[in-house]
């Protein structure tokens, strides 16, 4: 298989027809069906084909020098970015083991991690190793617009791990502060109102006695509109708000008073168990913690969960942020550099240690 790959590498740039010829030769023992040709085409004509990624090697070299691997035993659990020359590194907190974390520097040297500070809301961890004169990356602090080309860099001379785009400009993806009932809904038969399909136990709707099959007609005296409009109206209210809902069950209608919960309380701690639509999970493993970040840039960089924690880099070789999560089939998330640097700077100024570039 290795030899076959080498042959194919040489053939890159040739037409598919030629490739089929090369393959058919190599596979003369076996009938080559069109499906295998398809697999070859996918690999050779894909965005992660090795000659494409190699185009970024020089550009990514400085970022690679500022990126470390984090190991649990011999297994990589994440990358990390050096933020202070004297051995401070930032990474994705939830991927790291509680003890026994080892940092492998770009030069191959392995060091024990001696301190760990967690920034829970961002799922970031600041780590300390005993080292001096480490290399720092160049940070990009300008806003990143949608359509900006991004590379996920590895450690040392690994080069690019993934190529993609800034898909959506930076935004808040937190569920905190949004009203929540704990209901599954569908449009009611006849088009008027919304019908309850699920009730989440322990949440406001259930506590107020709403049940599956109930039809909700009015919210605060006004028609509920569509399912989307109703959910938007509830989300727009603050947790703790009391709302009046006109509910029809059987032949009779009654008004129910419900005190909204915080949507975050539903998602908190359950990130890994939030039901993802099936297609969103197709095509690879996702990070356990992949939702609820105060500020993130959405990208289409394809990363394994253990490849998070490293830098996302623009075409100038500048680090736009840290790859914080593989979210869905179509989405990975990056915490922008300015947010990252503010957190780190605040931490050190409180701690009374050093400026950004000691």
């Amino acid at each position: 298989m290795k030899r076959l790959r080498t042959v194919l590498q040489v053939a890159i740039g040739a037409t598919l027809g030629l490739l089929v010829g090369v393959l058919a030769f190599k596979h003369s023992q076996r009938v080559l069906d069109s499906r295998s040709v398809e697999l070859v085409a996918r690999e050779l004509l894909g965005k992660h084909e090795s000659s494409v990624l190699a185009e970024f090697d020089d550009m990514l070299a400085p970022a690679g020098e500022a990126t470390v691997r984090l190991l649990d035993g011999t297994r990589q659990v994440a990358f990390g970015i050096i933020v202070r020359r004297n051995g401070w590194i930032i990474s994705k907190a939830s991927e790291l083991p509680d003890a026994g974390l080892v940092c492998r520097l770009p030069n191959g040297k392995k060091l024990d991690v001696t301190e760990k500070e967690i920034f829970e809301a961002h799922d970031l961890a600041l780590l300390k190793v005993e080292a001096k004169n480490l290399k720092l990356p160049t940070w990009r602090e300008r806003r990143v617009e949608a359509g900006t080309i991004l590379l996920a860099a590895g450690s040392g001379d690994t080069g690019a791990i993934a190529l993609g785009l800034a898909s959506v400009e930076e935004r808040s993806m937190t569920h905190r502060g949004k009203g929540f009932l704990g209901l599954g809904l569908e449009p009611a038969a006849g088009g008027k109102g919304v019908r309850i399909t699920h009730v989440v136990p322990g949440f406001p709707a259930a506590i107020s006695g709403l049940r599956r099959g109930d039809v909700l007609l009015k919210l605060e005296g006004a028609d509920v509109g569509t399912v989307t409009q109703f959910i938007d109206a509830i989300s727009a209210k603050s947790p703790g708000t009391k709302v009046r809902i006109l509910r029809r069950r059987g032949g009779s209608s009654t008004t129910v008073n419900v005190e909204l919960a915080d949507r975050f309380s539903f998602f908190d701690g359950f990130s890994a168990s939030i039901p993802v639509d099936e297609t969103q999970a197709m095509g690879g493993r996702l990070s356990d913690r992949r939702d609820d970040f105060p500020v993130v840039l959405q990208t289409d960089l394809i990363l394994a969960p253990e490849q998070c924690g490293g830098p996302a880099v623009d075409l100038n070789g500048e680090v736009v942020g840290i790859n914080i999560a593989r979210g869905t089939r179509v989405r990975s998330l990056v915490i922008p550099s300015p947010v990252l640097l503010d957190l780190v700077d605040d931490y050190f100024s409180e701690k009374g240690g050093g400026s950004r570039n000691p």
Binding site: L16, V31, D33, S34, R35, S36, E38, L39, A41, R42, L44, L45, G46, K47, H48, E55, F56, M59, E145, A146, G147, T148, I149, L163, G164, L165, S167, V168, E169, R171, S172, E186, P187, G191, T226, V227, T228, D232, D277, E278, T279, Q280, A281, M282, G283, G284, R285, L286, Q298, D300, I302, L315, T328, R329, V330, R331
Partner: protein
């Protein structure tokens, strides 16, 4: 809300010619980045989310003229029902009427009820695209979200045949009907289906819409929706007749979500929940390996399927039949 994408792109093209030939790959990439950012800015206002109101369903679409004709996927129209609303990225929501649909090629057409002018993108020519060309996709994965513009994604065309383009621009549920753009900002395809592999994303070539424009505008519906696009691709592809459960992590193997009634796997005795760990002598680590391995076999033969049920390993001999002989339940998005 109105904008003319052609003018913008034309002036950009003018400024780009000044770059001339380059050998520095990063310089080439910066040029591509200019085009892509322009598409993100100028073409995304024409990328709509399509909402089924009577039957809740989300798809995508792209407006291709001022009057408000919206290209989408036929299966989006079928799942959305008669009462349809389209949402523009800026939050504008308007009623639309379903016109024609070619179910065989999954091409569908909507028309916005309200008078325009609406923001639109131009249609291009997918035949001008070569294998390996860079493209971008837009759409509303997961449905409309007022907090974000439709996410833009990068990929390359790796196959073009019979009115279908395949790219590695990753798509997900809700993207169906959304546009695939060439780097000049012209619509060359409409999102139709995906496979387990991240690189398996299929788009209806824009020519399918152009060639059948009169029939689509006239509201004709014809053909039948084949539920597995790979079967359209290659009807003799070998299959067991199983639907796999998407899974992350977990022990090695591929877990059956369903077995298709009357198909070989069900006839041989495989059941939902079984974890397939080997086909013949080939160990199966995950869904992708199972699909890839089965696709290299020949329809008409038998294979030994090794699987785990209730903690015990078992083996059954299963026939492989051609994809077109299996009628799948609705697995399309």
């Amino acid at each position: 809300m109105r904008f003319i994408i052609n003018v913008f792109l034309l002036s950009l093209a003018w400024s780009l010619t000044a770059y001339g030939e380059t050998t520095d790959p990063i310089k080439d990439w910066k040029e591509r980045q200019l085009w892509i950012r322009t598409i993100a800015k100028s073409a995304s206002p024409a990328v709509v989310a399509v909402e089924g109101i009577t039957t809740p369903a989300w798809g995508s679409g792209v407006v291709i003229d001022q009057e408000g004709h919206v290209l989408t996927a036929a299966h989006v129209i079928l799942s959305a029902g008669d009462f349809i609303r389209v949402h523009f990225p800026d939050g504008t929501a308007v009623r639309a009427t379903a016109l024609g649909a070619n179910l065989s090629s999954d091409a569908g057409l909507l028309k916005i009820d309200e008078e325009g002018p609406w923001p639109y993108a131009d249609m291009g020519v997918s035949a001008e695209t070569a294998d390996g060309d860079w493209v971008v996709s837009l759409g509303h994965p997961g449905g409309f979200d007022i907090d974000r513009r439709p996410p833009i994604r990068l990929g390359r065309v790796w196959s073009r045949s019979k009115g279908i383009l395949a790219t590695d621009c990753a798509l997900a549920s809700g993207d169906s009907g959304g546009p695939l753009f060439d780097l000049e900002g012209r619509v060359i395809g409409i999102h139709s289906s995906i496979g387990e592999d991240l690189a398996e994303n299929r788009h209806i070539a824009v020519e399918v819409f152009k060639d059948q424009w009169e029939r689509l505008v006239a509201g004709e519906r014809w053909g039948s929706l084949s539920m597995l696009t790979s079967a359209i691709d290659r009807p003799d592809r070998p299959m067991l007749g199983v639907i796999l459960r998407p899974e992350r992590g977990g022990p090695p193997g591929a877990v059956l979500k369903e077995v298709v009634e009357g198909a070989p796997a069900a006839l041989a005795g495989l059941k939902a929940g079984d974890r397939i760990i080997a086909i013949g002598r080939k160990r199966i680590a995950d869904n992708r390996e199972l699909m890839q391995h089965v696709s290299t076999l020949k329809a008409g033969g038998k294979v030994n399927v090794r699987f785990i049920r209730g903690g015990k390993e078992r083996t059954l001999s299963v026939d492989l039949i051609e994809a077109e002989d299996i009628s799948f339940p609705d697995t399309q998005r």
